[in-house]
């Protein structure tokens, strides 16, 4: 196992280099950073445009792409990042805040959603075809069928606008990370502002995971080895906790890690609906502007998180299933 992990970690380096190079090429071809800079800075002098090209290594020609990539990579690794094309603001502070906001929102919603979803899935699988199963299935279908922009709107109307009208105060805010005027860290206030977006994300997660877990657990519960276990007189409780859940979690765990890896990329719809300054909004703005200095670090973080969480999924998968040997 240790050798496997070490080898995978070593492979991460060429993988990341290759993928970031491809991203670099794709962004240069897809967004034309120099033209984007000119659009964003319509009155920039030729001298400033040339400075931007040099700073970001946006050289022409096939060799220019390679040279430019290593120029960018050198700056990225040494922390010498080019500023945003809009207002020359430094990239890292905004990216860091966006990442932190998305992780807070995404991880909280995922933990809540995965826990509750799996719990519902287990409850449904234990009584297939009965009222509880029907209720969980119906709830999951409704949850999946309601798009985030509908649930967000309903929650905002109920807990913000109508609550304000009925009781003279708003139970949960409609947007932001903190109330206007607030500065500094304040956990209760932050949680209050996260409440509605977390619920919107969690609704979808609960619905999905309840379906995954129900299906996975039903497969396990109907397997031959559990029939054997029962015939040996093992209690139903032990059958469930010791033998069934662990096996049912194997495919679900993979999904969990892949989902968490994807959270880093932001929750574009939810963040937009709640004007929540996370990675999704960061990307939309940066992409809209063709902001190469912002897009490259963003993409590196996305690529890195996907690669790392894939590795973690493999490792956990192996830990849960002794039949799998990682060599």
């Amino acid at each position: 196992m240790k050798r496997y992990v070490a080898r995978r970690l070593l492979w991460l380096i060429p993988t990341l280099l290759l993928v970031t190079f491809l991203v670099y090429v794709a962004l240069r071809l897809g967004t034309d950073p120099v033209e984007s800079y000119k659009r964003a800075n319509a009155r920039a002098s030729k001298k400033k445009i040339q400075q931007y090209i040099e700073l970001n290594g946006l050289y022409d020609g096939a060799f220019g792409y390679v040279r430019g990539y290593f120029k960018w990579l050198g700056g990225f690794l040494t922390g010498d990042w080019a500023p945003s094309i809009k207002g020359r603001t430094p990239v890292w502070p905004n990216l860091k805040d966006a990442l932190a906001n998305s992780l807070r929102l995404g991880v909280t919603a995922s933990i809540l959603g995965i826990f509750v979803g799996n719990l519902f899935g287990v409850l449904a699988a234990l009584r297939p075809g009965r009222l509880r199963d029907t209720a969980v299935n119906t709830g999951a279908l409704i949850g999946l069928a309601i798009p985030p922009f509908v649930s967000a709107l309903l929650l905002q109307l109920l807990f913000s606008i109508y609550w304000q009208k009925w009781f003279g105060y708003s139970l949960f805010p409609t947007s932001g990370v903190y109330p206007p005027g607030h500065q500094g860290f304040d956990l209760p206030l932050m949680l209050k502002h996260m409440a509605l977006p977390v619920v919107v994300v969690a609704i979808q997660t609960i619905a999905s995971y309840s379906r995954y877990m129900r299906s996975s657990l039903l497969d396990v519960l109907n397997s031959d080895y559990l029939r054997t276990a029962r015939s040996k007189g093992i209690s139903e409780r032990q059958v469930l906790l010791k033998h069934s859940l662990r096996n049912a979690l194997i495919p679900v765990t993979t999904l969990i890690f892949l989902d968490i890896g994807a959270i880093v990329g932001g929750l574009i719809i939810t963040e937009g609906l709640f004007e929540y300054p996370g990675m999704g909004r960061f990307f939309l703005v940066a992409y809209g502007n063709g902001d190469f200095p912002q897009l490259m670090p963003f993409m590196v973080i996305i690529v890195g998180s996907v690669v790392v969480f894939n590795l973690l999924a493999d490792i956990v998968y192996a830990r849960l299933d002794p039949r799998i040997k990682l060599v």
């Binding site: 000119k38 659009r39 964003a40 800075n41 319509a42 009155r43 920039a44 002098s45 030729k46 809009k86 207002g87 020359r88 603001t89 905004n94 905002q156 913000s160 606008i161 304000q164 009208k165 105060y169 708003s170 805010p173 409609t174 947007s175 932001g176 990370v177 109330p179 206007p180 005027g181 500065q183 937009g272 004007e275 300054p277 809209g288 502007n289």
Partner: protein, 562 residues
Amino acid sequence: MRRTKGAKALAFAVGVALALSACGGSDSDSSTEDTTSEGGAATGETAMTITYDIVDEAVWEDGSPITVADFECTWQAALNTPGSLGTTGYDKISTVAAGESDKQVVVSFTDLYAPYKGLFGGLIKKAAVADCNDISADFQTSINYSGTEWKMESWSKDQVVYVPNESYWGPRKASGKLVMVPKVENGIAALKAGEVDFIYPQFYAGIADELADPNVKTVIEYGGDFEGIYMNQGVEGKDANGNVREFSDAAFREGFYKSIDLDALFQQIYIPIAPEGKLLACGPMIPGKYCPEGIFGNKYSLDDAAKALEDGGWEKDASGMWAKDGVVPEVQWVINTGNKRREDTQAYLIPLLKEAGFNVVPYNCDAACYFQQRLPGMDYDLAMYISTAPPDPAYLVPAFAGDQVPTEANENKGQNYQGWVNDKATEALKNSDKEVDDDKRTELIKEAIVEMDKDYMMIPLFQFPKSGAYRTDLVGDVEGQLNNYAAFNDTYMWKDLNGDGQVVIGAEQWPECLNPITECANSSWYVWTVGQVLAPGAYRTTNDGKYEVTELLKSEPKVETK
């Protein structure tokens, strides 16, 4: 209601010039009544001097005095900074020098400049910049100086927080905090939820119903705002890539204009907002004494349109689209996404224009992209926006004079984003700046607007209402300056009714950078959220459309002409 683009500009300091200003001699209050000699174009090195006496106690936020050096720096920055939005007026200044002391500023002009009250509307603190002749790299994320009642505590993409400037010397004493937050998408929801105290929304059909709430009051007034559609003629008829801008063809403009039934459009878009409203027929100008009669308006006639186009060498191709040399031009129409009224206008007009033979396509992007990139970059064919015009027509000069088209040759200065060059109009506009006789000046302005009509360079639509909506349980005394060109500039007087220690304004647009000279400031919302809050100036506009001397000066500046 309201506001979206800047009245052509308001770069604040420059804005100086434009924004708050544009002033000049329109009404009796803003004319050059202090002039000590007869008007008329002057020649020679110094045609006019203005002497400003700064009050002794006027200081910046750090206690350093506001002096002639700051006036000089403002002049240099507006005139020389690459990409300056407006140099008009400043380009007539030859020197800014100290008089009897560094608290007396003597500004010498090479030519008469009637709308001088628009100059020095937002001073730049000399000590805050390294080089007054190029401040384009300054103030990207913060403005660390103030000469007003507020000073900036912090600015980010999420909010700006102002606190009282303890060094402020004047009568506009502020208390508590002034907070502004971007509410681009859900301003009304935030207002109804009590998260913001005040918003200044643009009206569209149905907004009154959306705002209906027992704790929300909406105030509507008609001021200097007007909405229109502008046709970009490019720089010498070309875009940045050297391609022809079709609207540089006079026949194409005329045919396009006459293919739109403006009365029907008005019924569709504006009557639901203002049942008593009328189609604007003054060009880039609200009704009043500067508005010539019998111009613009609805000229809808497909036959006349066809004749104009055919006379200009256009013909319809097999698909019924107007083409020249076999090429059907694609007309890119930009608006800011999310602006429902403009999206409705596109949805209504584009199919009709297609039927009439014009291949019009949406070219939309968000407000920051629209007003800070595409408009100043002249990256569009058609643009629809509201101009927040000051009370005096001097704003027409930077926006429509032929030498104000931003090009590399003029270091991208100016705000003539339509690329409209008409020598007769330019001459009239330039002369209007030098004309101190109000009647003669009015005629010059009218002459220029008549040329605009003849050239079909824009499609005026509507004198747009200004509106403020606020929570009556959270904030009070907010209605005093809602109609002001520098809207809600009296926030120091607003009452915090719920006792949370702050007043919160939801902003429909948000500046992406804070430079007061460059395209960062090309939006009314820049002025409202940043410029007017921090920068002291010689004059400010009033709610009834006049100019008044600010507390910065001891008295009305002394104006002398040679």
